[in-house]
Amino acid sequence: MQRSEIHLGLKAHLYHLSNLFLPLSVLVLLIVINLIKGADYFSFTMVKGAFYGNIPNILFGASELVILSIGMTLVTAASRGQDIGIGEAATISSAVFVWFVLNAGEVTLLTIVAAFLLSCVVGLVIGVFNGTLVSIFRVQPMVATLILFMGGRSIAFMIDGKLSPILANDISNQIGTVIPGVPIQTPIILTVVFIAIVAVVLKTTNLRLYVESVGINPNAARLMGINPKKIIFLTFLIMGICTAVAGFIAVNKAGRHDSVNLLKFIMMDAILAVAIGGNSLRGGKFSITGSIIGAYTIEILNRTMLRLEIETETIKAFKAVFIIILMVVGSPVVRVFAGKVINRVRTGRFRSVLKRSAPKSVKEE
C-alpha cells in the first residue's frame, strides 16, 4: 500500500515533468548547439561592476517577452483565444510614460514611479476595453484585439506628438541598463521581481483554479459560483499590467519612444512561447513556468542564429524551420507514439531494473 502510494506520487511528478519536457529539451538542444559552436558560451565578463556575456544578454533581451508571455498564458487559458495587440498596447502605455516624464520638468525617481503607475493605469484601461469586448460582447479575442493591433501605433504616435521622442535622463538609463553598484542589469531584476509577484499571486489566490475551470468548462464553472465573464475580464486586466511593464522596460532600454517599431510583432513570439511551454492554445490547464521557459527559448534561438552567423535576411526562415520541427516533435501524435515506444521498452527489458530500484525509495522514506 505504502509503496503504491509512493509510486503514484512519483507518477504525478513525472507527469508534471513531461509537460515541461518539450521546452526543456529544446533549451538543452540549443545550448548544446551553442557549445559546439564555441566552448566559451557560458563565459561572462565584468564591465564596470556588472555581468555581461551570452547568458546575461539572453536574460536581458527576453525580459519583455517573458512578461508578455505570462499575460498571454492567462488570457489564452481563460478566453481560449489570444491577444494580438500586446505590442501596440505596450507602445501606447509607454507613450504615456514618456509623455509624463518629458512634461514633468526635473526628472526624479518619484517622477519615474508616477509615470510608471500612470502607464499601468493606461494598461488597465486597455485591458478593460479588450476584456469588455471579449467577456461581455463575446467578440473572439483575436478579433477584439485586432482593433488595437491596427490602431494602437497611431494612437501612440499622437500621444508622442512627433516621431521617436528621446528619453534622456539618468534614471531611465539606469532602468534600461544597470544601476551603478548592482552587478545585474536592471531589466533582468525587474523581470525576476515580476515573476516573483506572479508566483505569489498564484500561491495566495485561486487564480489558477478559476482560470482553468473557466477555460475548460465555463458552464460547470458558472454552476459552481464562478463568474466566467469576470475571470476572462480579469485575465485581460492582468494582460494590461503586463503590457505596461513590458512597455516600461522596452522604452527605457531603447532610450527613446519609437512608436513604429517598439515591440513590433512581439505577440507572435509571445503566442509561440505559450505554445512551446506546452500550453494548449484552446485554453484550459496552463503552465506559466512552461511559457517562461518558452520565452527564453525563443530568445536563445534568436541569438543562436546570430551566433551561427546566419545572414540577417534569412534568419526568419531558419527560425520558421526550427519551429516547424519543434511543433511536430511536441505534437500529440508524436507524443503518443513516443509514449508507446517508452512503454514497450519499460515492459520489456527495463521493467526488472525499475522494480529493483523501487524498494530503495521506500527505505529512504
Binding site: 503514484l8 507518477k11 489566490t205 485561486n206 487564480l207 468548462n217 454552476l223 490547464k285
Partner: protein, 499 residues
C-alpha cells in the same frame, strides 16, 4: 447456431496500478445478441477495446472464425468485420444521410452522387430505417441517427457489431425501432455485442448474458434462464437484500416547523411557469414528469442556474435574494446538474480540484485551501463515497461515469449544504452505483439534510421521495405523498393533470 465467430480465452490487461481484465473468456455466436453487463469499472469497455484493437491484450488468445488473430490497430479490426457504434454518435450532422453512410470509406475517389443515393436508399429500405438518403442528418431523430450509424457499420461487411450504450439517449419508441433493426441484423447472421445499463432491455433482446465484475468473468448465462434479481446480484456481487432495504421515510407533517426552503411564484428565464415550492428539514422530495415537463427547469430556478425572473424565496423563514448560483450556494443550497459532462465535471482538472472547487469558491478568491487541506478533504470523500480512482491527481475525465458522478456529489457534500438538489444523479451509471446513491440520499436526509431528487426512472423516485411533485407542460399539476404511492398513481396524475 453454435458456431463461434469470436472466441476470446484468458484475456488479461493491466494498466499501471489496476488490473482491468483478469483471465476473461468471451464467446460470440453467429446470429446471437449477446449482452455484456457489469458495473462501472467491471472491465466492459476494456474488453471491447481489446476486441476492436484499441488496446493490446497482455495475455490470452483471440480467435475470429476459428483463426487466431492479433489486432494491432482499430483499422485492422474493422477490416476483419468488427464494427462498433458508440453512445455518442460519431457522424457529421450537416451532411446528408447517404453521405454519412458512405463518405470516407475509400470506395470512390470521385463521389457518384446518384449511385450513392440509390445504394443508400436500398439499404435504408432493407433495414427499415425511416430516413431519406438526401435528408440532412441533423433533421433525423437521435434514434434514426443511431440507426444510420449502425447501417454504416453493417455495410462495411460486418460480422460482429458492437453497440455500446446505444439506447441511453433514446425514448421508448425509439428503442423499439432500434431493437427491430437489431433483430433484422441478427436474422442475417450478424453477431451483436450489446452493452447497456438498462436491465429490462437486456432481457428484451438478448440471447445470452455475460457478466463481468472488477475485471473478472462472473459467468455466461442464457438470458431466459437467469432471473433478473439474480443478474443484478451477480453484477453487484452482493445479495439483493440491499436494494430492498432502501426504504423512504414517512412523509413529514407539513406544519412541523419552518421550512428550510420556501418559494412563492418562482419563475425563470428558462420558461417554467411561476410555481410554489416548499421543502422541510430532512425531507426528500422530487419533481416528476416527462422530458420537457419543466422538472429540471424548476430545479434550476431554485438554484438560480437560469436567470430568475420573479418570485419570493425564504430560507428558514427569512426572506433572501437568490440571483446567482453563488447566492444559492452561500444560502446553503447545492445543485448537481442533469448534464454531467456539459455542466458538471471540469474534465481536465484532477479529481482533487473537482472535489474542492465548490467549497473553494465559497471560501473566496483570496483564500485558497492549502494543498494538504485539499488532499485531506478529497481523500476523505473518496473513501466515504468509495470513489474508484487511481489517485487524487487523476483527471476526472478518465474516471467512469458513475465515479465522476460521485466526485460531483462529493463536491457538494463538502460544502455541507442544508438543501441539495440532485438532477438525474443516476443517469447513465451502473446499477450498483445507482443503489449506492439512493441509499446515500436517504442517509443524508436522516442526518437532517433536505434533498430534491429528480430521475426519469420513476421507481427510483418512488423508493426515495416521500413527496412527489408532478409536473406537466412546465407547470405543477399535483402532489403525491405517502408510503404507498405507485407508478400508476404518478402516471395517472400526469395523464389527468392537463385538463
Amino acid at each position: 447456431m453454435s458456431e463461434n465467430i469470436l472466441k476470446m480465452e484468458g484475456i488479461s490487461k493491466s494498466f499501471p496500478g489496476v488490473k482491468a481484465l483478469d483471465n476473461v473468456d468471451f464467446a460470440l455466436q453467429k446470429g446471437d445478441i449477446h449482452a455484456l453487463v457489469g458495473e462501472n469499472g467491471a472491465g466492459k469497455s476494456t474488453l471491447i477495446k481489446v476486441i476492436t484493437g484499441v488496446y493490446e491484450e497482455d495475455a490470452g488468445r483471440i480467435a475470429l472464425n476459428g483463426r487466431p488473430i492479433h489486432f494491432k490497430s482499430p483499422k485492422e479490426a474493422q477490416n476483419m468485420g468488427i464494427s462498433t457504434v458508440y453512445q455518442e454518435i460519431a457522424l457529421c450532422p450537416n451532411l446528408t444521410v447517404a453521405e454519412n453512410m458512405f463518405i470516407g470509406r475509400g470506395q470512390y475517389t470521385f463521389v457518384q452522387w446518384k449511385q450513392m443515393n440509390e445504394k443508400a436508399a436500398q439499404m435504408l429500405d432493407s433495414l427499415g430505417i425511416p430516413a431519406r438518403p438526401t435528408q440532412e442528418l441533423s433533421s433525423c431523430s437521435l434514434a434514426v441517427q443511431q440507426m444510420i450509424a449502425i447501417a454504416r457499420a453493417v455495410d462495411m461487411d460486418c460480422k460482429i457489431l458492437i453497440l455500446d450504450e446505444p439506447t441511453s439517449s433514446l425514448d421508448e419508441d425509439e428503442v423499439k425501432k432500434l431493437f427491430d433493426l437489431m433483430r433484422e441484423l441478427k436474422s442475417r447472421g450478424v453477431g451483436i455485442i450489446f452493452i447497456t445499463h438498462f436491465i429490462d432491455q437486456v432481457y428484451e433482446i438478448s440471447d445470452k448474458i455475460t457478466v463481468l465484475r472488477n475485471g473478472a468473468l462472473i459467468g455466461e448465462y442464457q438470458a431466459s434462464a437467469l432471473p433478473q434479481i439474480e443478474l443484478i446480484s451477480k453484477m453487484m456481487g452482493k445479495a439483493l437484500s440491499d436494494v430492498s432495504k432502501i426504504k423512504k421515510h414517512e412523509p413529514l407533517k407539513s406544519d412541523s416547523s419552518v421550512p428550510v426552503y420556501e418559494a412563492t411564484a418562482l419563475s425563470s428565464a428558462a420558461g417554467v411557469r411561476p410555481f410554489d415550492f416548499i421543502i422541510q428539514k430532512g425531507e426528500v422530495n422530487g419533481f416528476v414528469g416527462l422530458i420537457g415537463s419543466g422538472r429540471s427547469e424548476s430545479a434550476r430556478a431554485i438554484f438560480a442556474a437560469d436567470k430568475v425572473t420573479g418570485g419570493e424565496v425564504k430560507m428558514k423563514g427569512k426572506k433572501v435574494k437568490i440571483k446567482s448560483p453563488l447566492n444559492a450556494m452561500k444560502q446553503g443550497i447545492g445543485y448537481l446538474p442533469e448534464d454531467r459532462k456539459g455542466d458538471g465535471i471540469i474534465a481536465e482538472l484532477s479529481v482533487r480540484d473537482n472535489i474542492i472547487l465548490a467549497l473553494q469558491v465559497m471560501k473566496g478568491f483570496f483564500r485558497p485551501l492549502s494543498r494538504k487541506q485539499a488532499e485531506e478533504f478529497s481523500n476523505q470523500y473518496i473513501q466515504k463515497l468509495s470513489i474508484k480512482t487511481p489517485s487524487i491527481n487523476t483527471p476526472i475525465a478518465s474516471l467512469s461515469g458513475g465515479n465522476q458522478q460521485k466526485v460531483i456529489l462529493a463536491r457538494w457534500l463538502l460544502t455541507h449544504p442544508m438543501y441539495l438538489i440532485l438532477d438525474e444523479p443516476t443517469r447513465g451509471i451502473d446499477v450498483g452505483t445507482k443503489v449506492e446513491i439512493q441509499k446515500l440520499v436517504l442517509e443524508l436526509a436522516e442526518e437532517g439534510m433536505s434533498l430534491t431528487f429528480i430521475s426519469s426512472e420513476i421507481d427510483e423516485m418512488l423508493r426515495t421521495c416521500s413527496r412527489i411533485i408532478v409536473m406537466k407542460d412546465r407547470e405543477i399539476v399535483g402532489e403525491l405523498s405517502g408510503m404507498d404511492v405507485t407508478e400508476h398513481d404518478v402516471m395517472h396524475m400526469i395523464a389527468r393533470g392537463g385538463e
